[in-house]
């Protein structure tokens, strides 16, 4: 496995001419080829990556500054529009889609000298918690190949655990970055809703979608987050970024008020996960943090709220895949309606159809108030409870998922059981606050990684990264 230096060091060495971007790209591509059997990657962008690397090395030779991520290779989840390979969202309906422009965050990373080398596997359209809903193949967990890497950004998470690149991008709509981060033992960051532009990312549920970052440590993640954060005129939901930036200095746990979410530590949490979380809490206390139990009484309703709002928004966002504008189009249709219905029947996988149907139901006349509006109103209740909690404490913590990585096939035939994998992450998206999963030991039962979830108030991303960095050091 390639051992990557800290991102800041790689960029500094490239700028000083001590490392060549072309060599970094080759190292990354060689690692991807060597570890192909884990099926983390859908396609490489090798030709374009090599071209970009040459240009960056030439810039350095000419005395120019290629940027803060000079020559740093990265991997993007295949729902980001990227040049150099197709963008499929791991779906048959988008097979062969050749992006006419790139995602804003990809443009920002490239402007600082980063180089995208590959597109990672996901549950098709990011619908899932295991990558088993990919229309192409399931990614294997690097720690145990009979288990899933989590999802939906399972390919991106696995690629970092496998050392294919120093960082990777995911998306997080209901836990899709934090949960796979936890399942494979890497850092997974979900920002405040609106902190990063979603322009050029295949939309899933627009009131919840965020850009996720995977890295091996918090310092690496912070640099990437700092480059990506900020307003974008192409995404009118973006918010102002913190002017001081997101690269954290040395912090301290002393006096930090931290609330452990009582409801997440109750029934349903596996013993081996609980053990690691409790150990982490003990270490945080030793380091001076004031950890108390905090209750969010309605948080157990979050999953039900999510599985109304998310499919509703999915059904709306996926209506654009109609066989006329792009993607798969049924060739033998007799009329326009048949072209729609057949293109969508053949192009969409089962989970996309399931969500479109649920979404159509909860938005349909006669059911809208009982389901959709009710869910939106319970969402308000969740937000108010979180606001009340953040008056008592600076941060919330808890597990990321109720179990360690589950077996491939274990939940595959029971969609509801699969949805339960998101039970400790979806509330964060509904509330819109930032959260991060950091590795906190391995299970005493199966040796698989366990993640600790740290959660901050809205727009407190910088403070959260600081907390994560000091916590990472003591764990």
């Amino acid at each position: 496995m390639a051992d990557w230096e800290p991102i800041a060091d790689i960029a500094a060495k490239v700028k000083a001419g001590q490392l060549k971007a072309v060599d970094l790209v080759e190292r990354s591509l060689a690692e991807i080829a060597k570890q192909e059997s884990y099926k983390a990657i859908i396609a490489t962008t090798e030709d374009r990556a090599r071209e970009r690397a040459k240009r960056i090395d030439a810039q350095v030779a000419d005395g120019e500054d290629p940027g803060r991520l000079a020559g740093v290779p990265f991997i993007a989840k295949d729902n980001f529009l990227v040049f150099g390979a197709n963008t499929t969202a791991a779906s048959n309906i988008l097979k062969g889609f050749d992006a006419p422009y790139q995602s804003t965050v990809i443009e920002k990373l490239e402007a600082e000298g980063a180089i995208c080398v590959a597109k990672a596997n996901l549950d098709a359209f990011a619908h899932g918690a295991s990558t088993e809903n990919s229309d192409f193949f399931t990614t294997l967990n690097p720690h145990d190949t009979t288990r899933v890497p989590g999802g939906s950004s399972g390919g991106s998470a696995a690629s970092i655990a496998l050392g294919m690149a120093p960082f990777a991008l995911g998306t997080d709509t209901g836990g899709s970055t934090r949960q796979p981060g936890s399942f494979v033992g890497v850092v997974g960051y979900k920002p405040t809703y609106g902190l990063m532009s979603r322009s050029g990312i295949v939309a899933m549920a627009s009131s919840l979608d965020t850009v996720g970052t995977f890295a091996r440590n918090v310092a690496d993640a912070s640099i990437v987050i700092d480059v990506m954060a900020g307003k974008d005129e192409l995404d009118s939901t973006t918010i102002d970024r913190e002017q001081t930036g997101y690269i954290t200095v040395q912090g301290d746990l002393r006096g930090k008020k931290i609330g452990i979410i009582k409801e997440y530590m109750g029934e349903g949490l596996a013993d081996d996960v609980r053990e690691q979380i409790e150990k982490a809490v003990a270490k945080m206390r030793e380091a001076g943090a004031e950890v108390t139990e905090v209750s969010l009484p309605s948080i157990s309703l979050a999953l039900a709220v999510y599985y109304i709002l998310c499919p509703a928004e999915v059904s709306s966002n996926l209506s654009r895949f109609d066989g006329q504008r792009y993607g798969y189009s049924y060739a033998d249709a007799q009329d326009l309606n048949e072209s729609y219905t057949k293109s969508r029947e053949i192009g969409f996988g089962k989970e996309a159809k399931r969500r479109i149907m649920i979404g159509t139901y909860v938005l349909s006349s006669g059911y809208y108030d009982a389901y959709y509006k009710k869910a939106q109103t319970v969402r308000t209740k969740l937000i108010q409870e979180a606001e009340a909690a953040f008056k008592q404490v600076d941060f919330l913590i808890g597990p990321v998922a109720p179990t360690t990585a589950f077996k491939i096939g274990e939940n595959a035939n029971n969609p509801l059981a699969m949805y339960l994998a998101d039970v400790m992450t979806v509330a964060i998206n509904l509330i819109g606050v930032p959260a991060i999963s950091i590795p906190c030991g391995v299970s005493g039962e199966n040796g698989l990684p366990v993640g600790l979830q740290l959660i901050a108030p809205q727009r407190a991303d910088r403070a959260l990264l600081e907390l994560a960095k000091v916590t990472e050091e003591i764990l």
């Binding site: 072209s339 399931r354 509006k373």
Partner: protein, 97 residues
């Protein structure tokens, strides 16, 4: 407790413009009923006095100037993924008989 019938599922599929195989229609009848029964736990939650949340940023009326910007894309690039085109436009099947 909502229990969808196979006809309900076929009607939903029609609304969503998806045709379903017989097997899919049968499977979805059970699966969608189970999912709806799960989310129906919200029906007993007291939300009196609360407004629905549509978005969490607090942003209102994000405006920009209504002006043409050149992003440098040629029509050909933007249309390269379209299944059928004619004269730089999408071509679809006849809509009105």
């Amino acid at each position: 407790m909502t229990k969808l019938t196979r006809d309900d599922v076929l009607r939903l599929a029609q609304l969503a413009r998806i045709s379903l195989s017989d097997d899919e229609a049968n499977e979805f009848t059970d699966e969608l009923s189970a999912i709806l029964q799960y989310v129906e736990q919200l029906s007993s939650v007291d939300v009196s006095g609360l407004q629905p949340t549509n978005q969490v940023t607090g942003l209102t009326n994000v405006m920009r100037k209504d002006e043409v910007k050149d992003y440098g894309y040629a029509p050909h690039d933007l249309l390269k993924n379209v299944p059928k085109t004619e004269a730089n436009q999408l071509k679809v099947k006849r809509m009105i008989g």
